[in-house]
């Protein structure tokens, strides 16, 4: 994802809130500390489809915000 971002594409990583710290660290490790992160509530495993869809909707609104701001 960092490589795609370096190539100038609009990129974002979806992560759950429990893994935000890992995601931020990894973005820094790969040289894109400002990598946009789309945050959804933990967990993603073991939830019914209605909750999966609710997370997708939360992710979508953040994705649209990111795209409106692109390029920074």
């Amino acid at each position: 994802m960092a490589e795609l971002s370096r190539r100038g594409l609009a990129t974002a990583v979806v992560c759950s809130d429990a893994f935000l710290s890992l995601a931020r660290n990894q973005a820094g490790v790969f040289g894109i500390p400002e990598m946009p992160l789309i945050v959804i509530p933990h967990p993603l495993g073991g939830i019914p489809m209605t909750e999966v869809k609710a997370r997708a909707e939360r992710a979508l609104s953040q994705l649209l915000d990111q795209l409106r701001e692109f390029p920074r």
């Binding site: 429990a18 893994f19 710290s21 890992l22 660290n25 990894q26 490790v29 073991g46």
Partner: protein
């Protein structure tokens, strides 16, 4: 300027501190440079001594350790070996183990960052295991032996300090494991009725190897009654065949560490190691209906669509995909027990041999001193 001083010319490579053991350890704890236990401060002099058996360039990484992808150079590994309490003769195996873990098939990124409670298990084979007095007998997975404790600890410190496996930000394990403090053992080759692991994997018997496995801590199989190979293997298979291991949902290589007494019973009727694996595989399965409905529909049918896509509840689900995926070794002292060691599942074990600078096998660590 000697070689280490030259490497440490970067001001970030070292810092000056008062020579006070307690204060230094407080500093190391504050900065997260520890496994939570006190460490031996890695002074330049101690690190230089630790490199006495290093026959590789001190600044050339043996691998990149995720998730930070830090360069595991021999001199950084030596600093962690000092901190862990190692002797200089331990360093070659530490470098070899890290090199093996950095092979792509091992999936060290997954093992470091996963919520699963795995830790790299280091299995040592060959004459160097005896030379370094790595315990393979009573309490082999436990405390009490310097080589086992410090080699395993040095690897863990490197995974934290170089690789960034910091709890909550690089190591996301839900529980973690006591095996993350140190997890190094030798195979009890003298007490085994079979060829040792490294010979099974194509290395000459007089070579020495490390095999790394992304593993859980050992789980015991108590069998004081079975007097036949089939009896012992049936009891092991019954313990192995559980619904919650990662191995059954991925393509893992769980370790079956038989005690010498269990191994002798299994081999008594001429069973080879391959025979033992095949018998285990034939019995180590679970009917699909033992999994929850959600796991059947969302995991098992999806991961194994050809075999389980439309399968009924009585369909057998094998614990491993092939008989040879069981790693069978002999470990331990007296007693009728076997250790079942499940794995992370999404990982393959890697075996590496100890070599001299010229590429030939090292028959002793002493060949590496000044090599």
């Amino acid at each position: 300027m000697n070689e280490l001083a030259f490497l440490m010319r970067d001001p970030k490579a070292s810092f000056e501190a008062e020579d006070d053991y307690e204060k230094l350890n407080d500093l190391f704890f504050e900065r997260g440079w520890s496994d939570g236990l006190p460490v031996i401060p890695p002074s330049i002099g101690r690190v230089e001594k630790m490199l006495a058996y290093c026959n590789r360039p001190w600044d050339k990484p043996v691998g990149l350790i995720p998730p930070r992808w830090g360069e595991a150079t021999p001199w950084r590994l030596a600093a962690n070996a000092v901190m862990a309490g190692c002797q200089p003769r331990h360093l070659p195996l530490i470098m070899l183990a890290i090199e093996a873990m950095c092979e792509e098939a091992f999936n060290l990124y997954g093992i470091q960052a996963t919520t699963h409670l795995c830790a790299p298990l280091i299995i040592v084979n060959g004459p160097v295991a005896r030379e370094l007095e790595i315990n393979c007998a009573h309490n082999a997975f436990g405390p009490g032996w310097r080589s086992n404790a410090t080699i395993g600890r040095a690897v863990r410190l490197a995974l934290v300090n170089i690789g960034g496996a910091v709890p909550g930000s690089g190591d996301m394990a839900t529980f973690g494991s006591p095996a993350k403090f140190s997890y190094c053992v030798a195979e009890n080759e003298e007490a085994s009725p079979w060829e040792p692991l490294h010979v099974e994997r194509g290395f000459p018997g007089n070579t020495s190897t490390v095999t790394v496995v992304g593993a859980e801590a050992p789980h015991n199989v108590n069998d004081h009654e079975s007097a036949t190979p089939d009896g012992v293997l049936k009891m092991i298979a019954g313990t192995v065949a559980t619904t919650g291991t990662n191995d059954i949902a991925y393509s893992g290589e769980p370790v079956i560490a038989l005690s010498p007494e269990h191994a002798a019973t299994v081999a008594a009727r001429g069973y080879s190691k391959a025979d033992a694996k095949r018998h285990l595989w034939e019995q180590a399965w679970i009917p699909l209906g033992r999994f929850s409905e959600e796991n059947i529909e969302r995991r098992m049918r999806v991961k194994f669509p050809e075999r389980l896509g439309n399968a009924g509840p009585d369909t057998p689900v094998p614990v491993v995909q092939r008989p040879e995926d069981f790693i069978v070794i002999v470990v331990g002292g007296a007693g009728k027990h076997t250790a079942f060691i499940p794995t992370f599942g999404a990982t393959r074990s890697v075996t590496r041999a100890l070599r001299r600078r010229d590429g030939n096998y090292a028959l002793s660590v002493e060949e590496l001193r000044g090599d």
